[in-house]
Symmetry: C2
Subunit: 301 residues, 2 copies
Amino acid sequence: MLEACRRPEMICEITLQPVRRLGVDAAILFSDIVVPLVAVGVDLEITPGVGPVVARPFREEADLRRLPDLDPASVDYVTEAIRLLLPELGPTPLIGFAGAPFTLASYLVEGGPSRTHARTKALMYGAPRVWHQLLERLARITLAFLRTQIAAGAAAVQLFDSWVGALSEADYRRYVLPHSMTVLRGVAETGVPRIHFGVGTGHLLAAMAEAGADVVGVDWRTPLDEASRRVGPHRALQGNLDPAVLLAPWEVVAEQARRVLTEARSAPGHVFNLGHGVLPETDPDTLARLVDLVHSVSAST
Amino acid sequence: MLEACRRPEMICEITLQPVRRLGVDAAILFSDIVVPLVAVGVDLEITPGVGPVVARPFREEADLRRLPDLDPASVDYVTEAIRLLLPELGPTPLIGFAGAPFTLASYLVEGGPSRTHARTKALMYGAPRVWHQLLERLARITLAFLRTQIAAGAAAVQLFDSWVGALSEADYRRYVLPHSMTVLRGVAETGVPRIHFGVGTGHLLAAMAEAGADVVGVDWRTPLDEASRRVGPHRALQGNLDPAVLLAPWEVVAEQARRVLTEARSAPGHVFNLGHGVLPETDPDTLARLVDLVHSVSAST
């Protein structure tokens, strides 16, 4: 996986696949959330069936030295991949991609994926100064990674805070929001739209919007009308079909997709998407039919 | 684990431990969510580091034959354990315990723990008739298991729907609520209080209350005042300290526990608890201090 993320031709090929095969309206850069961490020298591997495993987890102030700033030259394979992609994509926009500070911190502190994020929270509550320093460094790395992608030609960016739904809104505002804001405000200077994605984050939608998003991702747990109320009138939503629906028969997929599109009428600027990643068991034909359905419904309304 | 859940002396000993060691106000029966499934003959094992693994996962109508009604005699070790427990507990009430139909169905359909519950949802959406039959059978088994515990002397019951937070409220109401209601209404006839527990269920609190709970569990993601508004004035809340807080230094634990108790002033009848299970890394001394703190604050207000 990490090897594939560092080969420009491979990044290009995998990024193009859903555009060619499914006819989606935008491409999203093939990458992994840990790519910029590896680029600054963190010793980690992606273990099949587990996820990222960090050789020496981050637990104390001294560990911060292992997070220097990101040199854009260290991710030249991403720049090169985007240069290859742009002519292939033509008018189809490319969305850049990075993990948000909290989610990156969780991998570093836990040493790998975690259900509870217990050590991450223990550091956050128990050593808030170290925590904020850690997230400041991660925000700088993430911002540099996204700026590199924008400089190479990404037309929008998506900031993934996959695990932040584990926090209460009060803790999110205190321990995370300022750092996600550093990233999203930094991107704002470039003028490209910013998508802020999370899952299980219904209770955080207002705060994630405030962090500086133009578009906020919403999973299937929160109806779009309610989500729209939470993010306010000046931000769009992305979502929110449950990826598990795609394992059901086509009639069910079509019914649920139409329901999302109907609910989206009260969410101005809605971007149709799944509420989380495509499940490995999904039939690609179902995805292609879904894209066609969304296009035909959108064209007729 | 399963062996321990079937030995009356062991159940008794483990159930008593937190009462003796920590001084909590109630005991909760030591058991596992899959105990009644094993009792009706489902072939499953609890694999260390994984959780319950079902030999032949449930996928179609024919599988329903493998879920006969629960004969109370097949869980006589639970009845016997409660008979042993009551004199030991004296005035301390014993809370009975069972998994809710959705969570049990997820284990049966997935064949084990799942992050996405994708196969479960695929069955729910794709074969709703089989789904409802499956949940009807699980509701009957769960109700029989709880009634057995109440007949033996449990003073309250807790229905655990650990995974149901994966559903939207609309899907919960359509596919789950009627079956959880079968269990909770069935228990109502006995007159004992009913606690309905979930995690990541902030968006389902109103619906879970409607299913027939006297007390609704709420995790740390939803503040108690907001949760109280959602469940309405006639139901109490249980929660909602984040178990991860207990890994932080004591001053942080105390501060967060006091915050919960302060927020609980707007939640009549609040039962102080963690928002989810105790993490294995937790120092038992911290738990004991927490119980003392809650008792002293409650006594002074």
